[in-house]
Protein backbone atom coordinates (compact mmCIF):
# COMPACT_ATOMS: atom_id res chain seq x y z
CA UNK A 1 0.00 0.00 0.00
CA UNK A 2 2.63 2.46 1.08
CA UNK A 3 4.82 1.78 -1.90
CA UNK A 4 1.87 2.06 -4.27
CA UNK A 5 1.03 5.37 -2.69
CA UNK A 6 4.62 6.63 -3.01
CA UNK A 7 4.84 5.37 -6.57
CA UNK A 8 1.85 7.30 -7.77
CA UNK A 9 3.01 10.33 -5.79
CA UNK A 10 6.40 10.05 -7.46
CA UNK A 11 4.76 9.88 -10.84
CA UNK A 12 2.75 13.01 -10.06
CA UNK A 13 5.92 14.80 -9.09
CA UNK A 14 7.80 13.86 -12.23
CA UNK A 15 4.87 14.50 -14.53
CA UNK A 16 5.09 18.31 -14.91
CA UNK A 17 8.75 18.21 -15.97
CA UNK A 18 8.21 15.33 -18.37
CA UNK A 19 5.05 16.77 -19.89
CA UNK A 20 6.58 20.23 -20.38
CA UNK A 21 9.77 18.88 -21.92
CA UNK A 22 7.81 16.51 -24.11
CA UNK A 23 5.66 19.36 -25.42
CA UNK A 24 8.74 21.54 -25.86
CA UNK A 25 10.44 18.83 -27.86
CA UNK A 26 7.54 17.57 -29.94
CA UNK A 27 5.25 20.52 -30.74
CA UNK A 28 7.80 22.84 -32.40
CA UNK A 29 9.38 19.89 -34.19
CA UNK A 30 6.08 18.69 -35.68
CA UNK A 31 5.20 22.25 -36.69
CA UNK A 32 8.61 22.74 -38.30
CA UNK A 33 8.18 19.50 -40.26
CA UNK A 34 4.72 20.65 -41.36
CA UNK A 35 5.96 24.10 -42.44
CA UNK A 36 8.85 22.51 -44.31
CA UNK A 37 6.36 20.86 -46.66
CA UNK A 38 4.61 24.13 -47.53
CA UNK A 39 5.36 26.98 -49.85
CA UNK A 40 4.95 29.55 -47.09
CA UNK A 41 6.30 33.08 -47.17
CA UNK A 42 5.46 35.68 -44.54
CA UNK A 43 5.33 38.35 -47.24
CA UNK A 44 2.39 36.64 -48.94
CA UNK A 45 0.17 35.41 -46.09
CA UNK A 46 -2.71 33.09 -46.82
CA UNK A 47 -1.04 31.75 -49.96
CA UNK A 48 0.40 28.58 -48.40
CA UNK A 49 0.37 25.58 -50.68
CA UNK A 50 1.57 22.04 -50.13
CA UNK A 51 4.73 21.39 -52.11
CA UNK A 52 6.03 18.11 -50.70
CA UNK A 53 9.79 17.90 -50.47
CA UNK A 54 10.49 20.79 -52.82
CA UNK A 55 11.87 22.97 -50.01
CA UNK A 56 14.36 20.26 -49.09
CA UNK A 57 15.44 19.98 -52.71
CA UNK A 58 16.04 23.73 -52.88
CA UNK A 59 17.76 23.90 -49.53
CA UNK A 60 20.08 20.96 -50.08
CA UNK A 61 21.11 22.06 -53.57
CA UNK A 62 21.65 25.67 -52.54
CA UNK A 63 25.39 26.45 -52.69
CA UNK A 64 24.93 28.37 -49.44
CA UNK A 65 23.99 25.10 -47.72
CA UNK A 66 27.21 23.33 -48.71
CA UNK A 67 29.19 26.39 -47.61
CA UNK A 68 27.29 26.56 -44.31
CA UNK A 69 27.78 22.85 -43.69
CA UNK A 70 31.53 23.11 -44.23
CA UNK A 71 31.72 26.25 -42.08
CA UNK A 72 29.76 24.53 -39.30
CA UNK A 73 32.17 21.59 -39.30
CA UNK A 74 35.27 23.81 -39.45
CA UNK A 75 33.93 25.94 -36.61
CA UNK A 76 33.19 22.94 -34.39
CA UNK A 77 36.45 21.14 -35.16
CA UNK A 78 38.59 24.27 -34.95
CA UNK A 79 37.23 25.29 -31.57
CA UNK A 80 37.44 21.71 -30.27
CA UNK A 81 41.07 21.41 -31.33
CA UNK A 82 42.09 24.66 -29.65
CA UNK A 83 40.11 24.12 -26.47
CA UNK A 84 40.96 20.46 -25.91
CA UNK A 85 44.70 20.87 -26.50
CA UNK A 86 44.78 24.23 -24.71
CA UNK A 87 42.58 22.92 -21.91
CA UNK A 88 44.88 19.97 -21.22
CA UNK A 89 47.94 22.25 -21.28
CA UNK A 90 46.37 24.77 -18.92
CA UNK A 91 45.10 22.08 -16.60
CA UNK A 92 48.57 20.51 -16.36
CA UNK A 93 50.02 23.95 -15.65
CA UNK A 94 47.43 24.86 -13.03
CA UNK A 95 47.85 21.50 -11.35
CA UNK A 96 51.49 22.32 -10.60
CA UNK A 97 52.58 23.70 -7.30
CA UNK A 98 52.69 27.42 -8.10
CA UNK A 99 52.31 30.70 -6.24
CA UNK A 100 48.84 32.25 -6.41
CA UNK A 101 47.24 29.21 -8.00
CA UNK A 102 43.74 30.29 -7.00
CA UNK A 103 44.10 33.69 -8.62
CA UNK A 104 45.47 32.30 -11.89
CA UNK A 105 42.57 29.87 -11.94
CA UNK A 106 40.09 32.71 -11.56
CA UNK A 107 41.77 34.64 -14.40
CA UNK A 108 41.60 31.64 -16.72
CA UNK A 109 37.98 30.82 -15.94
CA UNK A 110 36.64 34.36 -16.38
CA UNK A 111 35.92 34.34 -20.15
CA UNK A 112 33.29 31.65 -19.68
CA UNK A 113 31.05 34.10 -17.85
CA UNK A 114 31.23 36.78 -20.52
CA UNK A 115 28.03 36.88 -22.54
CA UNK A 116 28.53 35.94 -26.23
CA UNK A 117 27.54 39.34 -27.62
CA UNK A 118 30.02 41.16 -25.35
CA UNK A 119 32.84 38.73 -26.14
CA UNK A 120 32.25 39.02 -29.87
CA UNK A 121 31.97 42.82 -29.94
CA UNK A 122 34.99 43.41 -27.73
CA UNK A 123 37.13 41.16 -29.93
CA UNK A 124 35.73 42.57 -33.14
CA UNK A 125 36.17 46.25 -32.30
CA UNK A 126 38.89 46.53 -29.73
CA UNK A 127 41.22 43.77 -30.94
CA UNK A 128 40.53 42.83 -34.56
CA UNK A 129 39.61 46.25 -35.96
CA UNK A 130 42.20 47.02 -38.69
CA UNK A 131 42.57 50.70 -37.69
CA UNK A 132 42.14 51.05 -33.95
CA UNK A 133 42.28 47.46 -32.73
CA UNK A 134 45.08 46.31 -30.48
CA UNK A 135 46.25 43.72 -33.02
CA UNK A 136 46.63 46.54 -35.57
CA UNK A 137 48.67 48.58 -33.07
CA UNK A 138 50.78 45.53 -32.37
CA UNK A 139 51.37 44.89 -36.06
CA UNK A 140 52.37 48.53 -36.62
CA UNK A 141 54.73 48.42 -33.66
CA UNK A 142 56.41 45.40 -35.23
CA UNK A 143 56.58 47.12 -38.60
CA UNK A 144 53.93 44.91 -40.22
CA UNK A 145 50.80 45.74 -42.18
CA UNK A 146 47.67 45.66 -40.01
CA UNK A 147 45.42 42.75 -40.93
CA UNK A 148 41.66 43.10 -41.34
CA UNK A 149 40.78 39.94 -39.45
CA UNK A 150 37.02 39.76 -39.91
CA UNK A 151 37.12 40.79 -43.58
CA UNK A 152 39.97 38.53 -44.68
CA UNK A 153 39.69 35.57 -42.35
CA UNK A 154 36.13 35.76 -40.98
CA UNK A 155 35.66 32.14 -40.01
CA UNK A 156 39.09 31.85 -38.42
CA UNK A 157 38.43 35.02 -36.40
CA UNK A 158 35.12 33.64 -35.17
CA UNK A 159 36.84 30.36 -34.26
CA UNK A 160 39.32 32.36 -32.16
CA UNK A 161 36.56 34.28 -30.38
CA UNK A 162 34.50 31.17 -29.64
CA UNK A 163 37.59 29.22 -28.56
CA UNK A 164 38.43 32.01 -26.11
CA UNK A 165 34.96 31.59 -24.59
CA UNK A 166 35.18 27.80 -24.28
CA UNK A 167 38.82 27.35 -23.25
CA UNK A 168 37.93 27.99 -19.57
CA UNK A 169 35.26 25.28 -19.61
CA UNK A 170 37.68 22.70 -21.05
CA UNK A 171 40.40 23.75 -18.62
CA UNK A 172 38.10 23.53 -15.61
CA UNK A 173 36.90 20.03 -16.46
CA UNK A 174 40.39 18.74 -17.30
CA UNK A 175 41.67 20.22 -14.07
CA UNK A 176 38.91 18.55 -12.06
CA UNK A 177 39.87 15.24 -13.66
CA UNK A 178 43.58 15.78 -13.06
CA UNK A 179 43.04 16.48 -9.40
CA UNK A 180 41.56 13.03 -8.90
CA UNK A 181 44.69 11.40 -10.32
CA UNK A 182 46.36 9.07 -7.88
CA UNK A 183 49.63 10.60 -6.67
CA UNK A 184 51.08 7.22 -5.71
CA UNK A 185 50.56 5.84 -9.17
CA UNK A 186 52.64 8.69 -10.57
CA UNK A 187 55.33 8.13 -8.00
CA UNK A 188 55.46 4.44 -8.84
CA UNK A 189 55.87 5.30 -12.51
CA UNK A 190 58.70 7.66 -11.64
CA UNK A 191 60.40 4.97 -9.56
CA UNK A 192 60.21 2.69 -12.57
CA UNK A 193 62.05 5.35 -14.52
CA UNK A 194 59.21 6.87 -16.52
CA UNK A 195 60.04 10.30 -17.92
CA UNK A 196 57.64 13.23 -18.09
CA UNK A 197 56.54 12.34 -21.62
CA UNK A 198 55.81 8.67 -21.06
CA UNK A 199 54.11 9.56 -17.78
CA UNK A 200 51.85 11.93 -19.72
CA UNK A 201 50.94 9.41 -22.42
CA UNK A 202 50.61 6.30 -20.28
CA UNK A 203 49.15 7.62 -17.02
CA UNK A 204 47.78 11.14 -17.29
CA UNK A 205 46.12 10.96 -20.71
CA UNK A 206 44.30 7.64 -20.12
CA UNK A 207 43.10 8.98 -16.78
CA UNK A 208 41.68 12.05 -18.52
CA UNK A 209 39.97 10.12 -21.33
CA UNK A 210 36.58 10.45 -19.70
CA UNK A 211 36.94 14.18 -19.10
CA UNK A 212 38.12 14.72 -22.67
CA UNK A 213 35.15 12.87 -24.13
CA UNK A 214 32.77 14.81 -21.91
CA UNK A 215 34.31 18.10 -23.08
CA UNK A 216 34.02 17.07 -26.73
CA UNK A 217 30.42 15.90 -26.35
CA UNK A 218 29.13 18.92 -24.51
CA UNK A 219 31.02 21.50 -26.51
CA UNK A 220 29.91 19.96 -29.80
CA UNK A 221 26.28 20.32 -28.80
CA UNK A 222 26.75 24.01 -28.04
CA UNK A 223 29.14 24.73 -30.93
CA UNK A 224 26.75 23.37 -33.56
CA UNK A 225 24.45 26.24 -32.61
CA UNK A 226 26.87 29.18 -32.46
CA UNK A 227 24.81 32.20 -33.43
CA UNK A 228 25.31 35.44 -31.51
CA UNK A 229 29.04 35.62 -32.27
CA UNK A 230 28.33 35.49 -36.01
CA UNK A 231 25.39 37.89 -35.86
CA UNK A 232 27.31 40.73 -34.23
CA UNK A 233 30.65 40.30 -35.99
CA UNK A 234 30.23 39.38 -39.67
CA UNK A 235 26.52 38.74 -40.19
CA UNK A 236 27.57 35.55 -41.92
CA UNK A 237 29.70 37.34 -44.51
CA UNK A 238 31.47 38.31 -46.54
CA UNK A 239 29.16 36.33 -48.83
CA UNK A 240 28.63 33.07 -46.97
CA UNK A 241 32.21 32.78 -45.70
CA UNK A 242 31.20 32.74 -42.05
CA UNK A 243 27.61 31.48 -42.29
CA UNK A 244 26.96 28.31 -40.32
CA UNK A 245 23.78 26.22 -40.50
CA UNK A 246 22.14 27.99 -37.57
CA UNK A 247 22.79 31.36 -39.11
CA UNK A 248 21.63 30.24 -42.56
CA UNK A 249 18.27 29.06 -41.20
CA UNK A 250 17.90 32.26 -39.19
CA UNK A 251 18.54 34.46 -42.22
CA UNK A 252 16.12 32.52 -44.41
CA UNK A 253 13.37 32.71 -41.83
CA UNK A 254 13.66 36.11 -40.24
CA UNK A 255 15.40 38.10 -42.98
CA UNK A 256 13.89 36.57 -46.14
CA UNK A 257 10.64 35.43 -44.48
CA UNK A 258 10.82 32.11 -46.34
CA UNK A 259 9.20 29.98 -43.66
CA UNK A 260 8.99 26.83 -45.81
CA UNK A 261 12.62 26.88 -46.88
CA UNK A 262 13.92 27.82 -43.46
CA UNK A 263 11.89 25.03 -41.83
CA UNK A 264 13.42 22.52 -44.22
CA UNK A 265 16.83 23.90 -43.18
CA UNK A 266 15.86 23.60 -39.52
CA UNK A 267 14.96 19.94 -39.99
CA UNK A 268 18.24 19.31 -41.80
CA UNK A 269 20.04 20.91 -38.84
CA UNK A 270 18.10 18.72 -36.39
CA UNK A 271 18.98 15.58 -38.35
CA UNK A 272 22.66 16.52 -38.51
CA UNK A 273 22.75 17.34 -34.80
CA UNK A 274 21.15 13.99 -34.06
CA UNK A 275 23.68 12.12 -36.18
CA UNK A 276 26.45 13.85 -34.26
CA UNK A 277 24.68 13.20 -30.96
CA UNK A 278 24.18 9.48 -31.63
CA UNK A 279 27.73 9.13 -32.93
CA UNK A 280 29.15 10.91 -29.90
CA UNK A 281 26.98 9.12 -27.37
CA UNK A 282 28.11 5.77 -28.86
CA UNK A 283 31.69 6.91 -28.86
CA UNK A 284 31.68 8.07 -25.28
CA UNK A 285 29.17 5.49 -24.01
CA UNK A 286 31.90 3.23 -22.67
CA UNK A 287 33.60 6.08 -20.89
CA UNK A 288 30.41 7.39 -19.31
CA UNK A 289 29.29 4.00 -18.02
CA UNK A 290 32.47 3.43 -16.06
Amino acid sequence: MATLHTRSAARMMIAPSVVLLFLWMIVPLVMTIYFSLLNYNLLSPGMETFVGFLNYKYFLTDPAFIAALINTLLLVLGVLLITVVGGIAFALLLNQDIYGQGIVRILVIAPFFVMPTVAALVWKNMFMNPVNGLFAHLAKALGLQPFDWLANAPLFSIILIVAWQWLPFATLIMLTALQSLDEEQQEAAEMDGAGAISKFFYIILPHMARAITVVILIQTIFLLSVFAEILVTTNGGPGTQSTNLTFLVYSQALLQFDIGGASAGGIVAVILANIVAIFLVRLVGKNLEA
Binding site: P111, F113, T117, V118, V122
Partner: protein, 276 residues
Protein backbone atom coordinates in the same frame (compact mmCIF):
# COMPACT_ATOMS: atom_id res chain seq x y z
CA UNK B 1 52.25 14.38 0.79
CA UNK B 2 53.13 16.79 -1.98
CA UNK B 3 56.35 15.84 -3.62
CA UNK B 4 59.27 18.12 -3.22
CA UNK B 5 59.57 20.60 -6.02
CA UNK B 6 62.67 22.68 -6.53
CA UNK B 7 62.16 26.36 -5.90
CA UNK B 8 63.57 27.23 -9.28
CA UNK B 9 61.08 25.02 -11.07
CA UNK B 10 58.28 26.47 -8.99
CA UNK B 11 59.29 30.02 -9.91
CA UNK B 12 59.41 29.21 -13.62
CA UNK B 13 56.03 27.45 -13.52
CA UNK B 14 54.55 30.34 -11.60
CA UNK B 15 55.80 32.86 -14.15
CA UNK B 16 54.47 30.85 -17.10
CA UNK B 17 51.09 30.25 -15.47
CA UNK B 18 50.64 33.90 -14.51
CA UNK B 19 51.67 35.11 -17.97
CA UNK B 20 49.18 32.82 -19.70
CA UNK B 21 46.46 33.55 -17.15
CA UNK B 22 46.82 37.29 -17.69
CA UNK B 23 46.84 36.77 -21.47
CA UNK B 24 43.53 34.92 -21.30
CA UNK B 25 42.04 37.48 -18.94
CA UNK B 26 43.43 40.44 -20.87
CA UNK B 27 40.38 41.18 -23.09
CA UNK B 28 38.25 41.56 -19.97
CA UNK B 29 40.86 43.73 -18.26
CA UNK B 30 41.24 45.86 -21.38
CA UNK B 31 37.45 46.35 -21.60
CA UNK B 32 37.39 47.38 -17.96
CA UNK B 33 40.23 49.91 -18.41
CA UNK B 34 38.80 51.31 -21.64
CA UNK B 35 35.46 51.95 -19.98
CA UNK B 36 37.16 54.64 -17.85
CA UNK B 37 38.73 56.44 -20.81
CA UNK B 38 37.47 59.30 -22.92
CA UNK B 39 36.59 58.30 -26.48
CA UNK B 40 39.77 60.05 -27.68
CA UNK B 41 41.98 58.15 -25.25
CA UNK B 42 40.24 54.89 -26.15
CA UNK B 43 41.51 55.01 -29.74
CA UNK B 44 44.82 56.74 -28.98
CA UNK B 45 47.85 55.43 -30.82
CA UNK B 46 49.91 53.98 -29.25
CA UNK B 47 47.26 52.57 -26.89
CA UNK B 48 47.38 53.91 -23.34
CA UNK B 49 47.46 51.35 -20.65
CA UNK B 50 47.09 53.02 -17.26
CA UNK B 51 48.23 56.63 -17.59
CA UNK B 52 45.21 58.25 -19.12
CA UNK B 53 42.62 60.64 -17.80
CA UNK B 54 40.30 58.39 -15.77
CA UNK B 55 36.65 59.33 -16.12
CA UNK B 56 33.24 57.74 -15.64
CA UNK B 57 31.53 59.84 -18.30
CA UNK B 58 30.94 56.82 -20.56
CA UNK B 59 28.91 55.09 -17.87
CA UNK B 60 26.70 58.14 -17.44
CA UNK B 61 26.28 58.48 -21.18
CA UNK B 62 25.34 54.84 -21.76
CA UNK B 63 22.64 55.14 -19.13
CA UNK B 64 21.26 58.48 -20.34
CA UNK B 65 21.25 57.63 -24.03
CA UNK B 66 19.71 54.21 -23.96
CA UNK B 67 18.13 53.67 -20.56
CA UNK B 68 20.61 50.98 -19.66
CA UNK B 69 18.93 50.28 -16.35
CA UNK B 70 15.74 48.98 -17.94
CA UNK B 71 17.70 46.43 -19.99
CA UNK B 72 19.58 45.42 -16.89
CA UNK B 73 16.26 44.86 -15.10
CA UNK B 74 15.03 42.78 -18.05
CA UNK B 75 18.06 40.54 -17.65
CA UNK B 76 17.46 40.23 -13.92
CA UNK B 77 13.76 39.42 -14.29
CA UNK B 78 14.26 36.96 -17.14
CA UNK B 79 17.14 35.06 -15.56
CA UNK B 80 15.75 34.94 -12.02
CA UNK B 81 12.18 34.31 -13.20
CA UNK B 82 13.07 31.42 -15.48
CA UNK B 83 15.38 29.85 -12.88
CA UNK B 84 12.85 30.07 -10.05
CA UNK B 85 10.00 28.64 -12.12
CA UNK B 86 12.36 25.93 -13.35
CA UNK B 87 13.25 25.03 -9.77
CA UNK B 88 9.60 24.83 -8.73
CA UNK B 89 8.90 22.38 -11.54
CA UNK B 90 12.16 20.44 -11.21
CA UNK B 91 12.50 19.98 -7.45
CA UNK B 92 9.61 17.49 -7.13
CA UNK B 93 10.78 15.59 -10.22
CA UNK B 94 14.39 15.33 -9.06
CA UNK B 95 13.24 14.39 -5.57
CA UNK B 96 11.04 11.58 -6.85
CA UNK B 97 13.72 10.24 -9.18
CA UNK B 98 16.39 10.33 -6.50
CA UNK B 99 14.36 8.73 -3.70
CA UNK B 100 11.91 6.41 -5.40
CA UNK B 101 13.76 5.40 -8.54
CA UNK B 102 12.18 2.89 -10.88
CA UNK B 103 13.91 1.01 -13.64
CA UNK B 104 12.86 3.71 -16.06
CA UNK B 105 14.41 6.59 -14.10
CA UNK B 106 17.73 6.40 -15.95
CA UNK B 107 15.91 6.44 -19.28
CA UNK B 108 13.84 9.46 -18.28
CA UNK B 109 17.00 11.31 -17.26
CA UNK B 110 18.78 10.42 -20.48
CA UNK B 111 15.74 11.48 -22.47
CA UNK B 112 15.67 14.83 -20.68
CA UNK B 113 19.32 15.30 -21.54
CA UNK B 114 18.58 14.49 -25.16
CA UNK B 115 16.14 17.40 -25.38
CA UNK B 116 19.18 19.65 -24.84
CA UNK B 117 20.77 18.23 -27.97
CA UNK B 118 18.02 19.58 -30.20
CA UNK B 119 19.41 22.59 -32.07
CA UNK B 120 17.38 25.74 -31.38
CA UNK B 121 16.87 26.45 -35.08
CA UNK B 122 14.67 23.34 -35.18
CA UNK B 123 12.19 25.19 -32.97
CA UNK B 124 12.86 28.80 -33.94
CA UNK B 125 10.25 29.18 -36.68
CA UNK B 126 7.16 27.79 -34.94
CA UNK B 127 8.10 29.51 -31.68
CA UNK B 128 8.60 32.80 -33.49
CA UNK B 129 5.24 32.51 -35.27
CA UNK B 130 3.41 31.42 -32.13
CA UNK B 131 4.93 34.30 -30.20
CA UNK B 132 3.86 36.68 -32.96
CA UNK B 133 0.30 35.39 -32.93
CA UNK B 134 -0.03 35.49 -29.16
CA UNK B 135 1.63 38.90 -28.81
CA UNK B 136 4.57 37.43 -26.89
CA UNK B 137 7.29 38.83 -29.13
CA UNK B 138 9.44 41.32 -27.25
CA UNK B 139 7.81 40.40 -23.93
CA UNK B 140 9.58 39.35 -20.77
CA UNK B 141 7.03 36.66 -19.97
CA UNK B 142 7.62 34.99 -23.34
CA UNK B 143 11.35 34.80 -22.71
CA UNK B 144 10.83 33.50 -19.19
CA UNK B 145 8.80 30.61 -20.64
CA UNK B 146 11.44 29.73 -23.24
CA UNK B 147 14.41 29.98 -20.89
CA UNK B 148 12.59 27.88 -18.28
CA UNK B 149 12.13 25.14 -20.85
CA UNK B 150 15.65 25.18 -22.24
CA UNK B 151 17.26 25.06 -18.79
CA UNK B 152 14.82 22.60 -17.21
CA UNK B 153 16.86 19.49 -18.16
CA UNK B 154 20.01 20.95 -16.58
CA UNK B 155 18.10 21.94 -13.44
CA UNK B 156 16.58 18.46 -13.07
CA UNK B 157 19.95 16.76 -13.66
CA UNK B 158 21.85 18.96 -11.25
CA UNK B 159 19.27 18.60 -8.50
CA UNK B 160 19.16 14.85 -9.10
CA UNK B 161 22.91 14.49 -8.60
CA UNK B 162 22.73 16.52 -5.38
CA UNK B 163 19.65 14.74 -4.01
CA UNK B 164 21.26 11.37 -4.75
CA UNK B 165 23.87 12.20 -2.12
CA UNK B 166 21.31 12.63 0.67
CA UNK B 167 21.14 9.34 2.60
CA UNK B 168 17.78 7.65 2.06
CA UNK B 169 17.79 6.22 5.61
CA UNK B 170 17.00 9.65 7.02
CA UNK B 171 13.83 9.79 4.97
CA UNK B 172 12.89 6.28 6.04
CA UNK B 173 13.37 7.27 9.66
CA UNK B 174 11.09 10.26 9.16
CA UNK B 175 8.49 8.02 7.58
CA UNK B 176 8.70 5.60 10.50
CA UNK B 177 8.05 8.51 12.82
CA UNK B 178 4.85 9.13 10.92
CA UNK B 179 5.85 12.09 8.82
CA UNK B 180 3.60 12.61 5.83
CA UNK B 181 5.06 13.08 2.38
CA UNK B 182 4.48 16.81 2.66
CA UNK B 183 6.13 17.08 6.08
CA UNK B 184 8.98 14.91 4.88
CA UNK B 185 9.71 17.38 2.12
CA UNK B 186 9.39 20.52 4.25
CA UNK B 187 11.16 19.44 7.43
CA UNK B 188 13.60 16.74 6.41
CA UNK B 189 14.51 17.06 2.82
CA UNK B 190 14.53 20.82 2.33
CA UNK B 191 17.17 21.69 4.94
CA UNK B 192 19.49 19.00 3.57
CA UNK B 193 18.84 19.97 0.00
CA UNK B 194 19.36 23.71 0.35
CA UNK B 195 23.07 23.75 -0.64
CA UNK B 196 22.37 21.76 -3.80
CA UNK B 197 19.40 23.93 -4.68
CA UNK B 198 21.45 27.07 -4.14
CA UNK B 199 24.19 25.80 -6.45
CA UNK B 200 21.65 24.92 -9.10
CA UNK B 201 20.07 28.35 -8.77
CA UNK B 202 23.42 30.07 -9.17
CA UNK B 203 24.53 28.18 -12.26
CA UNK B 204 21.20 28.54 -13.99
CA UNK B 205 21.03 32.26 -13.40
CA UNK B 206 24.41 32.52 -15.09
CA UNK B 207 23.30 30.39 -18.03
CA UNK B 208 20.06 32.32 -18.44
CA UNK B 209 21.82 35.69 -18.12
CA UNK B 210 24.17 34.83 -20.99
CA UNK B 211 21.66 33.03 -23.22
CA UNK B 212 21.95 34.68 -26.63
CA UNK B 213 19.96 32.76 -29.21
CA UNK B 214 16.39 33.17 -28.04
CA UNK B 215 16.94 36.55 -26.41
CA UNK B 216 18.31 37.95 -29.70
CA UNK B 217 15.60 36.44 -31.87
CA UNK B 218 12.54 37.08 -29.72
CA UNK B 219 13.12 40.61 -28.46
CA UNK B 220 13.40 43.98 -30.15
CA UNK B 221 13.67 46.77 -27.61
CA UNK B 222 11.12 46.77 -24.79
CA UNK B 223 11.97 43.40 -23.28
CA UNK B 224 15.55 43.21 -24.60
CA UNK B 225 17.93 41.91 -21.93
CA UNK B 226 21.59 42.90 -21.91
CA UNK B 227 22.63 40.28 -24.49
CA UNK B 228 20.34 41.89 -27.05
CA UNK B 229 21.08 45.44 -25.91
CA UNK B 230 24.83 44.95 -26.37
CA UNK B 231 24.21 43.45 -29.80
CA UNK B 232 22.75 46.81 -30.84
CA UNK B 233 26.31 48.16 -30.51
CA UNK B 234 27.45 45.99 -33.41
CA UNK B 235 27.50 48.98 -35.74
CA UNK B 236 28.37 51.76 -35.86
CA UNK B 237 28.15 52.55 -32.16
CA UNK B 238 30.62 49.78 -31.40
CA UNK B 239 33.33 52.06 -32.72
CA UNK B 240 32.84 54.26 -29.66
CA UNK B 241 35.12 52.06 -27.61
CA UNK B 242 34.66 53.74 -24.27
CA UNK B 243 30.88 53.48 -24.39
CA UNK B 244 30.98 49.92 -25.69
CA UNK B 245 33.35 49.06 -22.85
CA UNK B 246 31.23 50.74 -20.21
CA UNK B 247 28.08 48.94 -21.36
CA UNK B 248 29.99 45.64 -21.56
CA UNK B 249 31.59 46.02 -18.15
CA UNK B 250 28.24 46.62 -16.50
CA UNK B 251 26.73 43.65 -18.35
CA UNK B 252 29.39 41.13 -17.34
CA UNK B 253 30.51 42.33 -13.90
CA UNK B 254 27.63 40.92 -11.82
CA UNK B 255 27.76 37.53 -13.50
CA UNK B 256 31.55 37.37 -13.37
CA UNK B 257 31.40 37.78 -9.62
CA UNK B 258 28.62 35.19 -9.25
CA UNK B 259 30.52 32.91 -11.60
CA UNK B 260 33.70 32.91 -9.57
CA UNK B 261 31.70 31.55 -6.66
CA UNK B 262 30.23 28.78 -8.76
CA UNK B 263 33.33 27.17 -10.31
CA UNK B 264 32.74 23.76 -8.76
CA UNK B 265 29.04 23.70 -9.53
CA UNK B 266 29.83 24.69 -13.08
CA UNK B 267 31.72 21.46 -13.72
CA UNK B 268 29.04 19.39 -12.10
CA UNK B 269 26.11 21.15 -13.72
CA UNK B 270 27.43 21.24 -17.24
CA UNK B 271 28.78 17.71 -17.31
CA UNK B 272 25.56 16.28 -15.86
CA UNK B 273 27.51 14.76 -13.01
CA UNK B 274 29.84 12.86 -15.35
CA UNK B 275 32.91 14.66 -13.98
CA UNK B 276 33.09 15.55 -10.31
Amino acid sequence: MARKVSTRRKMVMTAVAWALGILIFFPILWTFLTSFKTEADAIASPPQFLFFHWTTESYAEVQSRSNYLSHFMNSVIISFGSTLIGLIIAIPAAWAMAFSPTKRTKDVLMWMLSTKMMPPVGALIPIYLMFRNFGLLDSRSGLVIILTLINLPIIVWMLYTYFKEIPGEILEAARMDGASLFKEIIYVLTPMAVPGIASTLLLNIILAWNEAFWTLNLTASKAAPLTAFIASYSSPEGLFYAKLSAASTMAIAPILILGWFSQKQLVRGLTFGAVK
